[in-house]
């Protein structure tokens, strides 16, 4: 294999390019997309566990009426930080990690386009995480105004809020740099012959997601900066007494916030679009329409933001417009579901763990999509806004949409990363355990919301007791399932299954990533492959 100019001058035997720095400082200095991809994933998992512990604190308190486990002020901090940590700390970095590992492999590129910036965009995250977690220990505790940070409540809060604002700034900067890197890599480093319309779906969804990130992260940064100056420097952007408007924050926030939902969902769609064809042994149905549907979802996501604000008292015309626009999103989303279904139709299907998680994703995400449709109807949303119905809805979309497909990705690409197969039986247990526990946790929350339980309350009337108890039991079961998951992953890394992964462990898989050995050597595609 030819080599590009780098530091390995000696012969490295067969096709083993495992020449990499061994010092512990490697984690700070590495510019290798595989190292950075793995670091993103470990960071993500650490945040996932932190956010999960917060969620269990919430569910423990809500197990039964009355105050038992946490005080109301801590409860609000837990709900707030759970949201921020899971979205910015767990889900987004997980998919950036997959992108780092897999995009160069899928596109036939030697690395990400900006390798040093890649290192920097990762290393911005740990300080942000320290600010977030550390804010629990400062006077006044962590931010407690909800992850949406609505003023004036967030203006009232203590210094934990400032730490959160800075953390959001830092994570936003990291996301923007990551996006620039991904866009440049996809547009410039594709192997010869790989036209845009030949790219794997994962690359397409990430390309579109990266544009969404670049468009919305500065908006969020602007919103939290205005919050910061309102808090400390006497501005009144969100204070009516000074000519401002608290609702303006919500408009700005959700102009970021709604595309953010798709920032989380689209890469997940990409993962699913890779895995379903593999295990159906049949090409993806409607590749072109998938690309168009993804792009239209992304565009629509910019014009529906105020459906999060029906109860603020928008004018009737505004409510109607946002209702129609929101309902419209169901069309491209339905197209995607149908495409995946048609991919499976008359395939040769086998149900390994990655496929199971993708089917779980389809099942749960569709449910979340349907409750989204229910919520899109303004009059129904008036009843359900800020209730547990909404909590159930977005967990069906986020946990199913993002987390299940992230699990699918780990099982699917894990053999490529580690060189070992995971243990199929354990993977299946993890799937069924997660699927059942997830539904026990979140399905009853629809009922709680319908019956009238608001979200973000630490205590509730006795009529909500039973479903809350069920939900809490499910939550703890779901939490323990993820401890089981990390055991599976560690056993995979250490080769406990005893089965070495072939270069292409899945017989139905397509794509350049399967042309390199498993585990993927430290340097790959130093000479670009040619795609016919």
């Amino acid at each position: 294999m030819a080599s590009i100019p780098n530091d390995h001058s000696h012969d490295h035997g067969h096709d083993h390019h495992d020449h990499h720095p061994t010092s512990w400082t490697r984690i700070f200095t590495t510019t290798n997309h595989k190292d950075i991809g793995s670091m993103y994933m470990w960071f993500s998992f650490a945040m996932f566990i932190s956010g999960g512990i917060m969620a269990l604190g919430i569910r423990a308190e809500l197990f039964t009426p009355g105050l038992q486990v946490v005080r109301p002020e801590l409860f609000n901090q837990l709900t707030t930080l759970h949201g921020i940590v899971m979205i910015f700390g767990a889900i987004m970095p997980a998919f950036v990690g997959f992108a780092n590992w897999m995009l160069p492999l899928q596109l036939g590129a030697p690395d990400m386009a900006f390798a040093r910036m890649n290192n920097w965009s990762f290393w911005l995250l740990p300080p942000a995480a320290i600010l977030l977690i550390g804010s629990f220990f400062v006077p006044g505790g962590a931010a407690a105004g909800g992850w949406t940070l609505y003023p004036p409540l967030s203006v009232q809060a203590g210094m934990g809020m400032d730490m959160m604002i800075f953390a959001v700034h830092i994570m936003g900067a990291s996301s923007i740099m990551g996006s620039i890197n991904i866009i440049t890599t996809i547009l410039n480093l594709r192997a010869p012959g790989m036209t845009m319309m030949k790219m794997p779906m994962f690359a397409w969804t990430w390309l579109i997601t990266a544009f969404l990130l670049i468009a919305t992260m500065p908006v969020l940064a602007g919103a939290v900066t205005m919050l910061l100056t309102d808090r400390h420097f006497g501005t009144t952007f969100f204070n009516a007494a000074g000519g401002g408007d608290p609702v303006m924050f919500q408009h700005i926030f959700w102009f970021f916030g709604h595309p953010e939902v798709y920032i989380i969902a689209l890469p997940a769609f990409g993962v699913v679009s890779q895995i379903i064809p593999t295990f159906s042994r049949k090409p993806l149905f409607g590749y072109a329409s998938m690309v168009y549907a993804t792009a239209s979802i992304a565009i629509l996501s910019f014009i529906v933001w105020a459906h999060h604000m029906y109860t603020t008292g928008l004018p009737a015309a505004g409510q109607l417009y946002f209702m129609y626009a929101t309902m419209l999103i169901a069309v491209p989303t339905a197209c995607k579901i149908f495409n995946w279904l048609a991919t499976m139709w008359r395939g040769s299907i086998s149900l390994e763990t990655p496929m199971l998680f993708c089917l779980g994703f389809l099942f749960l995400f569709t449910m979340g999509g349907f409750t989204g449709l229910v919520l899109s109807l303004t009059p129904v949303d008036i009843q359900l806004h800020d209730t547990y119905y909404v909590v159930a809805h977005f967990h069906y979309v986020m946990v199913a949409g993002a987390l299940f497909s992230a699990f699918a990705a780990v099982y699917y690409w894990g053999p490529k990363w580690t060189g070992w197969m995971y243990e199929e039986k354990l993977g299946k247990i993890h799937f069924w355990w997660s699927l059942i526990a997830f539904n026990v946790t979140f399905f009853p929350q629809h009922f709680l919301g319908l019956a009238g339980m608001p979200r973000r309350i630490p205590d509730y009337n006795l009529q909500f007791e039973n479903w809350n108890a069920v939900s809490s039991v499910g939550a703890f079961a779901f939490g323990f399932a993820q401890i089981f998951f990390i055991v599976i992953v560690i056993r995979m890394i250490t080769g406990k299954s005893g089965i070495r992964a072939a270069a292409k462990p899945w017989d139905g898989a397509e794509g350049l990533e399967w042309t390199v050995p498993s585990p993927a050597p430290y340097h790959t595609f130093e000479t670009p492959p040619v795609v016919k």
């Binding site: 203590g158 204070n239 409607g286 109607l320 229910v374 109807l377 479903w467 108890a469």
Partner: protein
Amino acid sequence: MSLPHGLTFNDKKVVVTVMHGKSLKQLFSSAAVALFGLVAAGAAFADWAIDLQKPNSAVAEQMYHLHVVITLICVIIFVLVFGVMFYSLYAHRKSKGHKAANFHENATVEVVWTVIPFLILLVMAWPATKAVLDMRDSSAPEMTIKVTGYQWKWGYDYIHDGFGYVSTLATPLAQIQNQEVKGANYLLEVDNPLVVPVGKKIRLLITANDVLHAWWVPALGVKQDAIPGFIRDAWFRADRPGIYRGNCAELCGKEHGYMPIVVEVKTQADYDKWLAAQKDKYGVGKVAAPVIDTKTYPKDELIALGKTVYETAGCTGCHGPAGKGVPGQFPALDGSKVVNGAASDQIALLLNGKPGTAMASFKHLSDKDIAAVIDYTRNAWSNKAAESAQPVDVAKVRYGGKLPADAAPSADAKPAEMAKPAETAKPAEAAVPGALPAKIYFAAGKKDLPSDVKVSLDATLAFLKGRANAKVDITGFTDQTGNREANLELAKERAKAVRAALEAAGIAKDRINMKPPTEITGGVDNKEARRVEINPA
């Protein structure tokens, strides 16, 4: 597009035995029910409720039916789509030797499955649009109430009836802390519910004092954010009398879960009785001297009362039952400089609040309650303050340093009552003849004074003659017919006519204020709406 009620989940009964108490057994039964009995549960068993609350207004009814229809549509599509998927998973399995086909596009099906969802959405959009337009049509209300969200209580102002009160959580702290058995309305009960007549279109003007709140009563189909510095409106017309409960639905800080909303819908006759009692209680339209409680109470009695006030008036929300506050957010009272310093400063703080913080004004409490809670905080925990307060000290601060000259000192003050806004003592005038407000009713479209105007004018003259410094406000109104611009003009002309009559009777110009109305119409019917009101300024 609306379905009859019977088609909903509402009427099904639960087959599962419900167990109370928190045994391990219940946990298993909970989990088991969650897995197998989801659809079996029904609203009949409130504890396992799975549906929206029973609507009690036309708007809530529409919301309810929309939800049923869209849910059914979703369930049908879900079953169809996943039926296909499960068939495929079953039939097209590699393990069954199924060989993969190789098709990967088909323009026709792709167009079909784009168009069909679109058509379904169109069908849904129609009733939803209708519901939105109904929901937002707050015109021509029969009654208007101003709702103010505070951290963490609700204020209700009956703006046309001249009184208002505060509504606070009534659940005892001991229940929340699991020291007492929780009642059926745990966390959904208040001291003073909002009371409205059945069948009347009630318009709510909703705002907030500090942060965002949301006024939500599911059965009435109203959820509207309360936004500080802005007024939003919402409306409802309750179909049946009864008590309807809801919560604040927008995160508003620490005690967000503890500011319920209770609406009591009464028949018109009961409502009228209630209204009369309230007007009496708040002294609306009466000219009475404020009753100043000048009695000196024993310190122990005040401290004992103060503990109850502290725990029920909302103090514990921020400052905690043990007076520790929340470091960095809410100051501790235990060891506080204010609490251990000059009593007059603490009185002023309670009466006026501290702008820009969650410390609201508590001037709706009686002088005695305020004095009591101050004495309580000054002697509770580790506090041993030198100064203490008596009700009369509070009254002094309330009236700006000294007691009003015409106050009627009463050594025998009323017995202590909790958080009774009755004593929102408005410094009124001494009891001399001349009962205001007076109302003068006009003929439709006319601005000429009616023949019976003399009664009202005499009352006003008597009122003004008895009080050297008093002034009056004159406000004109019209009925609902005709265009708004013309009505505004007419209302003004009517007020001017009354002013001219008063001036002709010898009242100085500067004792008459022309006060534009907050709402140009009002009253029970058009006849009553065409009026000029004369109120003490």
